[in-house]
């Protein structure tokens, strides 16, 4: 067999996982990674947490050491853009007009922040947070700032709000809907987190949307909200969700929904093209509808689908089968999520809410299908297994903390 070329478009978790898993599974051909970023693959979660707070410096961000690419013979190109795919000729085209052939193409193009199209959105002290370059800029600006306005009560917004309180800034969060983290969390837990943020001094304004961002004569800024009231601040951070980067795939005729649609092996609708990461929507065996392609936007989903896609590329296909999980750090609490919220019919509380150490278990009939843990990592770890093994539990047993959660697992 002649040497095969695996060409990876992207330079973050999915791209790196694709490359390293392909090598791990025995791929002996060429691996080329084309990234449009300024830095080799790095951790994104700390950008809104420990990196922004200063606890972790930039040296701690790279996902692997520099020698990794050499040792594994991964040809990494930075600041390079793929502008088109020609699936018939199995070629990609770069912005400089040159083309390159592939045997396998992996689209790991990620996502971009959803833009809020209001007047003033492009002003200098208005930030979106996705890349290390974005985070560096924001971090620098925070040094001389005293007030920040965060638009969007999602994970990014609330994590930034937490860090800014730790740094001593006045923080206002504007959320357009009637609760924070509504897409991700049960209502009761959203209310709990909101109360915690308030205790920490974050002002959260619900049912409040930003209409305009203005620069005042003294150089400060104001975010004008729907009732006309100005929220005065020095910096604005917008965190209103992400959009999958699927333009390349769409233009090449790949099936897309919200995300590039793949199966559990990362297969797209076009032969020899796989996708993984925040750009890929794929069916999840633990979802209420296991056929529906979902865009999970998590490290876990990214890693596990990229591994599955790499297994396909080397001819030893092992489909995705993991229980989804996710985490967030805000103030002094750790939130961990296992399973998928949708499909949970009722919720059972286990633990001590006042002590801020508890989990909410989402049930479908008598099975646990999701778990939301606050400062309870053991609950989270065991819940992942309980969901995976589809174990039935009586609600009264689940509520009883004298019964160890582990005891519900099947004995091996």
């Amino acid at each position: 067999m002649t040497s095969q070329r695996l060409l990876i478009v992207g330079g973050s978790y999915a791209a790196l996982q694709m490359a390293s898993s392909a090598r791990e599974f025995g791929f002996a051909g060429e691996i080329t990674m084309i990234s449009n970023e300024d830095h080799p693959p790095y951790q994104r979660p700390p950008l809104s947490k420990s990196y922004l707070s200063g606890k972790l410096d930039a040296a701690g961000l790279p996902l692997v050491g520099d020698s990794f690419y050499r040792d594994k013979q991964i040809d990494l190109h930075l600041r390079k853009e793929v502008v088109a795919i020609n699936p018939k000729r199995r070629e990609v085209q770069y912005s400089n007009g040159l083309s390159e052939p592939y045997d396998w193409l992996a689209l790991c193009t990620g996502a971009r922040p959803r833009r809020l199209s209001i007047p003033g959105e492009t002003l200098p002290n208005v930030h979106y947070l996705r890349t290390l370059t974005d985070a560096k800029k924001l971090k620098k600006k925070l040094i001389d700032s005293t007030r920040i306005c965060v638009i969007g009560g999602g994970f990014i917004g609330l994590e930034v709000a937490s860090v800014c309180r730790q740094l001593g800034l006045e923080v206002t969060v504007l959320e357009a809907s009637s609760g924070i983290l509504r897409r991700a969390l049960p209502h009761a837990l959203g209310m709990f987190l909101m109360a915690r943020h308030k205790q920490e001094g974050v002002s959260i304004r619900l049912n409040c949307s930003a209409k305009e961002i203005k620069v005042n004569l003294d150089g400060t800024m104001s975010v004008i909200i729907n009732n006309g009231e100005p929220i005065d601040c020095d910096q604005v951070v917008i965190g209103v969700g992400a959009e999958p980067n699927q333009q390349l795939a769409e233009a090449a005729g790949l099936r897309c929904a919200r995300g590039i649609v793949t199966d559990g092996l990362g297969n797209t609708s076009v032969e020899r093209i796989v996708a993984a990461g925040d750009c890929a929507a794929f069916p999840n065996p633990f979802a209420a509808d296991p056929e529906q392609p979902l865009l999970l936007e998590s490290i876990q989903a990214t890693r596990d689908l990229a591994r599955a896609a790499a297994s396909l590329v080397v001819g030893k296909p092992e489909p995705y089968k993991a229980v989804p999980w996710f985490w967030s750090d805000q103030h002094d609490f750790k939130l961990q999520i296992a399973g998928l919220y949708r499909g949970s019919e009722k919720f059972v509380i286990r633990g001590d809410v006042r002590a801020q150490k508890f989990s909410l278990f989402g049930m479908h009939q008598s099975r646990i299908v999701s778990a939301f843990s606050i400062n309870s990592p053991a609950d989270h770890m065991v819940a992942r297994k309980l969901i995976e093994e589809k174990i039935s539990i009586e609600v009264t047993h689940l509520e009883d903390t004298d019964v160890k959660l582990k005891s519900f697992l099947r004995k091996e």
């Binding site: 979660p45 700390p46 692997v64 961990q336 990592p377």
Partner: protein, 107 residues
């Protein structure tokens, strides 16, 4: 600079030198030491950076906090006396030459 030695299952080992303030996990990642997954990147959320600290070195480290202790109950490889999550072990002049062993599996 503090040093840390990683001992693999087959007995082979590698010693690396890192800046004070680096975690054992980060030292492993920066030096491409196999067997430390660190899926969550070092925020004590996943229990995939489990290591066994040598008995002689245990006293050099501050003990595991409550969250780490709970996570250690959930590692894939067996929890032993020396079990720690390497993301929580910060290297300093006090930890000097630390030796840790990599467990059989992380996930």
């Amino acid at each position: 600079m503090p040093k840390v030695t990683f001992v693999q299952l087959d007995g082979s080992s590698k010693t690396v030198e890192v800046k004070a303030g680096t975690s054992v996990m980060a030292a492993a990642i920066q030096n491409n030491i196999p067997g430390i997954e660190a899926e969550c990147g070092g925020s004590c959320s996943c229990a995939t950076c489990h290591v066994y600290v040598s008995t002689a070195d245990l006293s050099k480290l501050s003990p595991a906090d409550e969250l780490e202790d709970e996570m250690l109950d959930c590692t894939i490889s067996q929890r032993l006396d020396g079990s720690r999550l390497s993301c929580q072990l910060i290297l300093s002049e006090d930890t000097a030459d630390l030796t840790v062993s990599i467990p059989e599996a992380q996930v």
